[in-house]
Symmetry: D2
Subunit: 345 residues, 4 copies
């Protein structure tokens, strides 16, 4: 499989390169960017000296169609909505890591993203690439909307309970914490070192654009799920997301029933690891890997279930999941080239 | 006022020294520890060279009574329960920074702390030192149970809503995040640098000993408050706590009403700063100071109120609040010696 | 003393405000900036809510002369060279925290700073504000060139040996490490959180503009001092500089002689703390304070002396030293308002 | 190749497992520890859930010889000196990651390590495993003394200049900076999170046990090399070493000559990357990989050469280099299983 990466200078693009370098069936043919064209990629990322020799190229769908089979879009929101249709029109497969193709209701996209939505037929054609729960559709897809980082952790964390309709529908509260790489490589006050080091921040209160994505997925599983509360915080670290999720059980449960439910749901899903009873994951335990680790608690005092879900936002939350989708689209084992052991410590 | 500090080698003790060094009415007479007696304090804390010349001394209530008026206990739990009665018997005033004297029901203390409780008469005599809401009692006290770090942030964050009975009683969920200094200076795997750096952890799930303290205070304001959900996380930073608090409003509110309520409640309370509408504090904005900063949100989609409350766990969450209590006990302005500007960045 | 701060939105300006808030003899009258005029200062620095009520004002020397006695310039290089002469012409005293007035040879300034130098008479009038070794001149000055952060640590570290001509003149190697706040509040790739966290960098190799400043001061003490090797690194932390300095002793020394030399040299200089034999300072041990801490070693195997010198780059390396200079200019005790205990941990 | 790891609970052991998991020719048969025997390895390292199923086993050379061909010793100093002879006596190949077998002069080992040396015949048989400069010997070895982390960075940094006798022999000064994982997983005050975060420390001044190792290697290349100055600092980060090395050139050089020298020396050595002129590596650019990256400068003002050498202390400084040695011993390409792209950011 010959591939190109658009938006290669961002962290999502760099992570695709790191991971694909181990993939036995994929060749990185070209790297594209809207700026710095003609400069060696290693000027942007010197850690790839003697590994990547490409220069950055312009974004020309027609030319790309001559050389590659599939394009990863690792672009900011607002790019893919225009570019994806052009690439698809050239017969290319596309995996879009941005949020542009995830929201099925155009007006919802425009409300939360404050941008024009992609054409309706593009949105309709895009398959939501959450492999654990959407494998059959992904297999047949030519256009993938790769899930957001936060939504991946939340949806994998809630799926078994929501699908089985075990929780009070309007009781979902997600307190999510992300590493700073989630804010991207573009300079910004919030990710200036001196402002963020030794600091802990809350941001985009009640306004995060991942809210409609999560609600859409949950409602796809259970139409009665009410609006969720979803808060996002920044942690002074480079990689990792933890979503601490609080829900009310419809009926009394035991912690054993809860574990049984999750163990069964994720039995044959190699990238979700349910932790043993009483054990909870920390973000570093998935660092650099494609795992989503889940810990579970049931508080008899309050009748509340707590789910703790951690991922590496750049891997399972972006580039790793994109490659998992590529594997499924290609008919490969979904683990191909993705057997990274977490980098610990 | 002549004072002694017991447990001076821990972070609470060191912070008392930093703050008291600026206090115009207090003289640090002696520093006490259960170990290292006779060694200069600066061997433990070289940053105090040419500032503190004391040697560590043994803990002898009778001797202490000869030299000082008030004793700060900055000891681990299980010490003050035995030592406080002896110090009080010697006529000394005591401010206890540990959790030993905070829980009024002895069996609750013993259940959550897994330790023997202090004598009932000591517990009864101890005044809970949350100055913003307990000033009159503190003024008359000789024995203060200084609030815990998490409880300080949560109780100040919830007080106006709970006192006015504006929230659904069993709807309180607190997602709290603490810096690592909260785990103390004793070596432990959880606070080993390499395990904690670039990492985010959840710990003591549904088992934190601050749960009964918070519930006791809230129930003191509104007897119907149900059991709370309270989760604690460790952030890779040195100082700071953020409590993100979710509650259900009993009736519809506007964000303006919410701000009015808090602004009124904290109008004459110099260490609580209510942020303007749409602005939320980060932990660094109170670093090294005695402030508790509060941000507020109301989500019309869910009817949930969110309160964000931040403190420096070693100052307003420990040593600073202890000095604020001392000021009130002495009849001084509560701000005396506590006008530290946050160290930012 | 009524003062104004120009360049108030940078970290140097914010630190002046933090420190001056404790100063009994200084009133902050106005804050000036080349942008954001008319906006409340707390929009830039919300941690100062209820502490600072000023709005940012334009930079108008004539107006300033009506309201204040002294102006702090906490501006990037290239501003003070033009502004200082205008302020002085209005009869104002000026303490310049930038590098514009430090280098006596105009061509050296222009070579290293790549900017036009200030007028010769302004440079001539400026007194280098290193209080430990230049107090008499500072007392009479109206225009102070406040030393750079790195130079402060290096010059205090080397003064006793250089002044007594005890080292081989061309043997000085300084390996300096700085926290990221030294790079300022302006956004830049080098201080983007994700690039700097968990990382250690070397920068401006053989090109740092502090080289001529250090050499000028050392040559002022001993004209034979040869060119120095001076390397600068960035440490993933907020505040602090450590300079590890290697020199060759002209003649054999003992470690005791070395300590005696330094203890004597800094006996009555309250902000320099010489550590006991075998003890070396870490940067956190001066965090938030005006101290420069010095550790000493003599290696008999190589005949080399090593001096370890640490400061808080924003205090002794900038705002604190500026206030120390102000105290001396005003005839106050140099410690006035500067008795901050290091914030540890 | 069937292997065992002794000292598996330390960071060196855990890193061997991470890396070997990708190795096509190696099977991890057993993990050994002096404590916790019988407990699943994932209790020590939960990030390996569903990857490693081994339990910790006792250290029994006879038993090990029945099941494996080669043993990695990732033990603290003082263990291998006793254990290596026993393992070798059983016919096992051994790669020792500790410092026990590196120093050829027994009295030097005992002076610097303050421990009893290994038997002379074991020391004599041990081959120093610096593959870039010792490949022929490693090929024939059965017992490898894997180089220390600091020495690896320093020796690779200095080799071309020392081997060609281009520098003044007694002019070597190494200012080395290490991440905290170098201090191991055992709890200690120096690596307590709150003491180390936002801090920068110097330690073991003139006493580091890597001094004799570096001098021995350099003298092996040029017998006249004098004693070196070698200082070690701790950086608040998890992985990485930067050695900033200062030497005096015997004769004038140009920066071009310097680059030519290094490019030639490392032309066919896949894990050493010489950076282009004017570019210097940061530690993160080798994070998680087996690279040693080198930057070069020549200062015409002082006639000094500066070499900047960075590695990941747990990979090229420990586990990765050990596997590189294993590859060479087995007759495999030295890159086998080691093609990790640095994890950036």
């Amino acid at each position: 499989m010959r591939i190109a990466i658009v938006g290669a200078t961002g962290y999502g693009g760099a992570e695709l390169i790191r991971l694909l370098n181990h993939h036995p069936e994929v060749e990185i043919v070209s790297l594209h960017s809207s700026s710095q064209q003609g400069t060696p990629y290693t000027e942007s990322y010197p850690h790839l000296q003697e590994i990547i020799y490409n220069k950055l190229e312009e974004i020309n769908p027609e030319e790309m169609a001559k050389n590659v089979d599939l394009v990863f879009l690792a672009t900011p929101s607002g790019i893919s909505s225009k570019l994806s249709p052009e690439l698809v029109a050239q017969g290319l497969k596309v995996i879009d890591l941005s949020g542009d193709l995830r929201i099925k209701k155009l007006e919802d996209y425009e409300f939360w993203y404050k941008k024009c939505a992609a054409p309706k037929e593009t949105i309709d054609a895009a398959v939501y690439g959450l492999p654990e729960w959407n494998k059959a559709e992904i297999k047949k897809a030519t256009l993938i909307a790769n899930p957001g980082c936060y939504p991946t952790s939340v949806e994998l964390g809630l799926a078994p309970l929501v699908q089985k309709e075990l929780i009070v529908e309007d009781s979902i509260i997600v307190d999510a914490k992300s590493a700073v790489s989630g804010a991207g490589r573009s300079l910004s006050a919030i990710s200036h070192y001196t402002e963020m080091n030794d600091n802990f921040k809350i941001y985009k209160v009640n306004q995060h654009q991942h809210i409609p994505e999560i609600e859409q997925t949950l409602k796809g599983w259970n139409g009665n799920i009410g609006p969720i509360t979803f808060s996002t915080h920044l942690v002074p670290m480079t990689r990792g997301i933890m979503s601490t999720i609080y829900v009310k059980a419809k009926n009394k449960m035991t912690i054993d029933q809860l574990h049984e439910l999750y163990n069964e749901a994720y039995e044959n899903k190699p990238f979700v690891r349910v932790r043993p009873k009483g054990v909870f994951p920390s973000t570093k335990e998935v660092y650099g890997s494609n795992y989503c680790d889940i810990g579970l608690a049931y508080d008899e005092r309050t009748g509340r279930i707590m789910i703790v879900s951690v991922i590496d936002n750049l891997v399972k939350g972006a580039a790793g999941q994109a490659i998992q989708n590529l594997n499924i689209m290609m008919g490969l084992d979904e683990k191909t080239g993705l057997n990274f052991v977490p980098v610990y410590p």
